[in-house]
């Protein structure tokens, strides 16, 4: 994946992957281990869309939980140097998250049961709404451990995992610092947008004076399926996205690529989250020809089948040829991003967004990309480096970037988000 690769040699890719040196996957194993979710059964999306998802567990919910339809993602900066105040907020957040994920009000009194003269301890817009599969997933950014100036505000510097570093710059990045990074993140996913927004709004309130919102992003449609029980959704390019994603039904693969284990640190059972706001250049894409679009992606727009194949879940065959040309172009997104050629795998959990228009009459829209992996360097970074010559780059621009260490799940009534880190 060096910069010298002016022309990506298909042979070279196969050679590297076949030798197993490019990373973790042998080419032959890729199809099997990364696994295609079993085709032909994209029925209901697991649990009912209105039901509650368990808050406690070995891992945080919201990672392999079947991807809900809506997202409100928020990154906070810590405003104080007071470690105890930060811990108090994390404890208050955990209590509120326990309640809200079960469809209850954020505070113990509730939206309408308290004193008339006090602001309610829940903002009320989720009254009468079901839990809607709400998950709340917390993560800690590199700057929580050490500020950009190297200051250790909370005595956490020696607990910063080596894996948790700022992402390197990638060619074509157009990152806006105001919507990048952050000390702490919360990912709220639900099948009702109001439930997700309610959760973030109430957590933000609980954090007043201790954490301030740095940036936030709404997403309206999942662009990945994270369970074989889910149908593969389409992204704003109009293509099925996430066909070959890691899936909840592949515990061994998840253990290998998603969950941190064996480090003996507070991160065992956790995962690293990378987020990228990827603006899509919608108008040029919409006026490109169907064949151009399919060659860019590497799949058929209608069926989602890899080029040269028939069904969506047919394995990608990089050797298949059509009219003497490789069916899947070597500059296509599927070719470059596929585990076979990137040498690794990540759990994608992104959402489409439309943030209105940009003042030039163009949609400000795209993919709020989220992925989970056991280490960013061998996950997102490795994949993204491989996308340097991706034909899709002409149609996308990354405008924000962040990385967070998501601790393991909350277990037991006295546990709280980050206890292993701060305790």
């Amino acid at each position: 994946m060096g910069a010298e690769q002016g022309g990506l040699s298909r042979r070279r890719f196969f050679g590297v992957a076949g030798a197993g040196t490019a990373g973790v996957l042998a080419a032959g194993a890729a199809g099997g281990v990364i696994g295609r979710a079993t085709a032909d059964e994209p029925a209901a999306a697991g649990a009912g869309v209105t039901e509650a998802v368990a808050f406690q567990g070995a891992h945080q919910a919201g990672i392999v939980t079947p991807a809900q339809d809506r997202l409100h993602f928020v990154a906070f900066d810590v405003l104080t140097d007071d470690r105890d105040a930060l811990v108090e907020v994390l404890q208050a957040w955990t209590a509120a998250a326990r309640r809200m994920t079960q469809g209850q009000d954020a505070g113990p009194i509730g939206a309408t049961a308290g004193s008339e003269y006090a602001p309610p301890d829940d903002t009320g817009e989720a009254i009468d709404l079901p839990p809607a599969g709400l998950t709340l997933t917390v993560g800690f950014g590199p700057t929580l451990f050490r500020t950009a100036e190297g200051v250790d505000r909370f005595g956490l510097a020696d607990r910063q995992p080596a894996e948790l570093t700022e992402l390197p710059a990638f060619p074509g990045d157009a990152l806006d610092p105001a919507i990048s990074g952050g000390d702490v993140c919360v990912q709220a996913c639900a099948n009702d947008p109001q439930v997700a927004v309610h959760a973030i709004r109430n957590l933000s309130r609980l954090a007043a004076g201790v954490l301030g919102v740095r940036w936030s992003q709404l997403g309206f449609g999942r662009t990945s399926s994270t369970s074989s029980a889910q149908a593969t959704p389409r992204n704003l390019f109009g293509f099925k996205d996430g066909t070959d994603n890691l899936k909840a039904e592949q515990p061994e693969t998840l253990d290998r690529f998603v969950w941190v284990s064996g480090t003996g640190s507070w991160m065992d059972g956790g995962s690293y989250l990378v987020s990228r706001r990827i603006r899509m250049r919608i108008e040029p894409w919409d006026t490109s020809t169907l064949i151009e679009q399919e060659q860019t992606i590497g799949r058929k727009k209608g069926s989602g089948a890899p080029l040269g194949q028939r069904g969506e879940f047919d394995p990608v065959d990089f050797t298949a040829q059509v009219d003497g040309e490789f069916a899947v172009p070597e500059t296509s997104h599927v070719f470059l991003a596929h585990p076979t050629n990137s040498g690794t795998a990540i759990l994608r959990r992104g959402y489409s967004f439309v943030d209105g228009s940009d003042g030039l009459g163009r949609l400000d829209a795209g993919l709020f990309f989220i992925c989970y992996q056991s280490a960013p360097e061998t996950g997102f970074v490795q994949v993204q480096r491989n996308l340097r010559l991706d034909a899709m780059n002409e149609y996308v621009q990354h405008t924000s970037s962040a990385v967070f260490a998501c601790p393991p799940g909350v277990q037991g009534p006295d546990d709280w988000w980050g206890r292993a880190l701060f305790g």
Partner: protein
């Protein structure tokens, strides 16, 4: 400009929340008396000193005479804990002596001069001995309204003086002088806005912004003149607006001096002032032509603190933890704002970066969460 407080509590039936009769405070500005003083304590104020003749007093009524030998206009305060105003004189011009009558129960106080009328001032301890009056929570609440009325009366006096000076400068066509006086006069207005706004008919005439008027209504008041001062620099046709502004301020001052807010109105007023900051000042909407929003910010903040401090003796009994949190957050907000002090004034709003405004916004958000808890504590009484 927000919902008049007068309506905030129309439904309350708590006996302690009825309007208190206007009562005598301690300030000579109000023209009221609080008993005869048996002494006259000299205060020698200059640009960098504030020498009070004594630091120990017996409980009772005392008179201070403040003489300003400095080059800056000064103010003199007697503060109880938490900068709760027991008495104050505003606007003591160089070379002028002013008297202040104040009734002080036993306790620890501070005397404070504020040369240039800004900052924490020059402070000295003042210990008042004697039998400490033990007030019940009810009595503390009743006292709150009187304390705050004293504060309002001290501000209305200065509002009238400064507005008069501003109006005179406008009518004289002295644009630089009028521009300098604009944020100063508004400071006294913004400090007592909860009271001013309770007179819903006058507030829009004095403080309405362009576009707020109903069809057929004229755009008048501070902001009409602000627009002329900064947009065109031509105030030749502002005379009638200046006259109306002064008349309306005179009217509101007369009315405000007679009003005593009940404790719940004080609590809600303190919160409303912070909302003013969040919605009008941080955004730069209030003073959109002059960009002097941080003057208003500081004034709203001081006014909010004055209202909370009037409730302090009650709150310290009822919810000491909340008092601690509020103190901390007022201090944090003041420290955040202090970064933008320039001389006797403030940086212009349009010179602050997004990051700097965000710092101010975060501190106000936190403070509002705390201050919003006060009303329920008062109502639980």
């Amino acid at each position: 400009m927000s919902t008049p407080l007068r309506n905030a509590l129309a439904a309350t039936s708590l006996a302690t929340l009825t309007l208190l009769a206007a009562c005598g405070g301690g300030s000579t500005d109000s023209g009221s008396t609080a008993g005869e003083a048996s002494d006259d304590i000299a205060v020698a104020a200059s640009d960098d000193t504030c020498d009070v003749a004594t630091s120990e007093l017996e409980a009772g009524t005392h008179q201070f005479t403040v003489t300003n030998s400095g080059s800056k206009v000064t103010e003199f305060y007697v503060y109880a804990e938490g900068d709760r105003v027991m008495a104050e004189v505003e606007n003591i011009a160089p070379g002028v002596a002013r008297e202040l009558l104040v009734e002080l129960p036993a306790g620890d106080y501070e005397t404070v001069c504020k040369p240039g009328m800004v900052g924490d001032g020059i402070r000295n301890a003042l210990v008042v001995s004697g039998e400490a009056a033990q007030l019940s929570e009810d009595e503390n609440l009743q006292q709150a309204g009187e304390d705050y009325q004293r504060y309002v009366q001290s501000q209305t006096g200065a509002l009238l003086e400064q507005t008069t000076a501003f109006v005179e400068a406008v009518k004289a066509g002295d644009v630089p002088a009028a521009q300098a006086l604009f944020p100063v006069a508004r400071t006294y207005w913004e400090r007592i806005e909860p009271v001013a706004e309770s007179f819903g008919d006058l507030d829009p005439l004095i403080d309405g912004r362009e576009g707020d008027q109903a069809e057929g209504e004229d755009f008048t008041g501070f902001h009409r003149i602000e627009q002329a001062l900064w947009e065109t620099g031509d105030v030749s046709d502002m005379g009638p607006y200046a006259d109306d502004l002064l008349a309306n301020v005179q009217e509101i001052v007369a009315r405000a001096n007679e009003v005593t807010l009940d404790p719940l109105q004080l609590a809600n007023g303190a919160k409303a002032l912070l909302d003013e900051i969040a919605t009008g000042k941080i955004t730069g909407e209030e003073d959109r032509y002059s960009h002097t929003d941080l003057w208003d910010f500081a004034a709203n903040l001081e006014g909010s603190e004055a209202a909370v401090q009037a409730l302090r003796p009650f709150l310290e009994e009822a919810d000491p933890e909340l008092v601690g949190e509020i103190d901390e957050r007022f201090a944090a907000t003041e420290a955040e704002l202090e970064q933008y002090r320039q001389g006797d004034g403030w940086a212009l709003h349009d010179t602050l970066t997004e990051d700097q405004l965000r710092g101010l916004s975060d501190s106000i958000t936190a403070l509002s969460e705390s201050v919003s808890q006060v009303a329920a504590v008062v109502a639980d009484q």
